[in-house]
């Protein structure tokens, strides 16, 4: 309906547009992400957050009140939460403090958390650290996932789906060939996930398809998969349910054989096969003056007929 809460009424076109943009839609818009900082984040983490999701951020929040509340406010379904973890290990003679940067990446379905994955940042190289010309913001990146883990391990599979959601950008029907510059490469290896960002240079190769050379641009990070809070299979399936209207309508009565010939069925009304004429018999065609002339002059019509026949 037109209202979010019952009885809420849009007073003008502007408020109606606002409500419609927030309502569930058949074909959804691109997902927006909110980035948030925990209590004691440092500059590094903030920088990391900003670099990673540079084009998608809505607004960074300072405190960690309800995630779902913020999601409703900003109408975002992806989130990135960075924080600083100080762990005190009490050794016999020593007290070690390990500081780790932790990133929580996740997504929401219907304003409830669907998946949430904790990633530890082991090594981080920011955009500013890498001296190379950057890709213009907003280019749809090419995404590559390498490593068996992304195909075999459940948690890695979810992470792959989540990263795809984060980075893929808006769905477009066509893309400029020259604009295929940005490549994001994720490698799952040795218990870690290496994220690298490259700029692809299209070189001449002698044939139509160019040869690729890569130049590393920032940011890059080594991540460790820690705790995960993944949705149950049921909820995951529910989130994937597409409205019926989007299902491609199959054209009926079209079939193909092994050679690719297209077949269809044509339905005819019942025909009287005894009255079917398969060959043309010109002589059997009735003519107007025939009956009268036959009585007068028996010969002439016959001649005419014969003449016609031979023609």
């Amino acid at each position: 309906g037109k209202q979010g809460n019952i009885g809420e009424r849009e007073m003008n076109r502007r408020s109606k547009r606002f409500l419609e943009s927030r309502a569930p839609k058949l074909i959804e818009d691109v997902k927006t992400a909110m980035i948030m900082k925990g209590g004691n984040t440092s500059q590094t983490v903030t920088q990391a957050l900003k670099d990673i999701v540079s084009s998608n951020i809505t607004r960074p929040f300072e405190d960690s009140t309800s995630l779902e509340f913020f999601s409703k406010k900003t109408d975002s379904s992806l989130f990135l939460f960075g924080s600083h973890n100080k762990k005190r290990d009490h050794m016999p003679n020593d007290v070690c403090v390990t500081v780790s940067f932790v990133l929580f990446a996740g997504r929401l379905f219907d304003f409830h958390v669907l998946d949430m994955i904790e990633l530890g940042i082991e090594k981080y190289v920011s955009l500013s650290d890498v001296k190379a010309s950057k890709c213009p913001e907003g280019t749809k990146p090419m995404l590559v996932f390498a490593g068996e883990a992304f195909d075999t391990d459940n948690e890695h599979k979810r992470l792959k789906s989540l990263l795809l959601d984060f980075f893929r950008g808006p769905t477009v029907s066509a893309v400029r060939l020259a604009g295929l510059e940005h490549v994001l490469h994720f490698t799952a290896l040795d218990g870690k996930i290496y994220m690298r960002s490259y700029r692809s240079l299209l070189k001449k190769s002698g044939c139509r398809t160019p040869r690729i050379e890569l130049e590393e641009i920032g940011p890059s990070c080594d991540l460790v998969l820690r705790r995960t809070h993944l949705a149950s299979d049921d909820l995951y399936k529910l989130a994937h349910r597409q409205p019926k209207a989007l299902k491609a309508k199959k054209k009926k009565n079209i079939s193909h054989d092994a050679f690719g010939t297209k077949f269809g069925r044509v339905h005819m009304q019942k025909q009287d096969l005894s009255k079917l004429r398969t060959r043309k018999m010109k002589g059997l065609r009735k003519r107007k003056g025939n009956v009268v002339a036959e009585e007068q002059d028996g010969q002439a019509p016959k001649v005419a007929k014969e003449a016609e026949h031979t023609e």
Binding site: A23, L26, E28, M142, V144, F150, V175, R196, A239, P243
Partner: protein, 354 residues
Amino acid sequence: MAACSVEALLAKAEQEEAEKLKSISVQKELDLEFDIGNLLACDKNRIDLREFREQKKEDFLRSLARDNTQLLINEIWKQPTERVQEAIVVKLPDPATPLPREKPPPKAKPPTKWEQFAKLKGIQKKKKTNLVWDETAKEWKRRWGYKRAKDDTKEWLIEVPETADPNEDQFAKRVKAKTERVAKNEYNRLKNIARAQKGKVPVMGLATSTQQSKEELSLAVSVAKTSTASAGRFQDRLPKEKAPKNMGKKRKFEPLIGDFSNERHKQLELLKLMDGKKPKLDITKAVNKQMREEDREEAAAKYKKRAGKKGRKGGNMSGKGKGKGGKGGKGKGGKAGGGGGGGGGKRRGKPGKH
């Protein structure tokens, strides 16, 4: 001789082709999986840990990335291309990887009362133009909204129609009609929502579905009974149910020319009453009634002063007028009254807090 040279040429051509393709071909054990709609490539090949540790990490990762990107680009270049303005553009297929939605798909709304009627009658929606030509201003103005074409709130002259009371305020009448229309619209909108949500629409006065008293239930039963085509005349009754009284006409009038003796008797009685010394009117009773009415009015006025700015409305209604106004409101715009009542009810809630 010729044959040799032809063979040589062919071999040379093959070699050249291979050379060309060498630059873009990549050897992989398993083929990559592609989702061109998302510009995605998945490499499932095992990565040799030893190689990774031997080489410099970054170089290893970069060469792996280069190979994979080359394969992805090869796949993208297989797609159909076209020229758009100055750039060459490749058409992407639909994304193949299923990703979860943001929100559940929208539910089909049940049609509103009007939509049902329109469907039944076959009425199509006619798209209206945004602007209308205004003769007086000689320009195109909006059909509705700010600075609209025929804005009757801006009229400074309203002709009093012949049938109307000359002392009536026509401007106030217009404003009142507008508020009634707005209230009715709001009421209908809420009814549509209620119907969409619950599928049941409560009748005026029977709104509560929780604990109902005996009287409310019997009222509900009687309303249900009379809501038939023949106004409940042929409805079956339960074994012990009593026949409803007050069926049919509410008042019975004597025929004009009927019982002469009865008529004579009635007229004589009337004359006796008029002649008699005893007053028909019970003065104490009447005075008490009047005093009670006045007290009630004062209380209402005080209440309205506290609640709203429009205290004038309460003051306008005198004792007898209240009866008429009340009845008129109920009869004519039962829905508007309900809507106004609903709106007033909402307001009344606030002062209760004090």
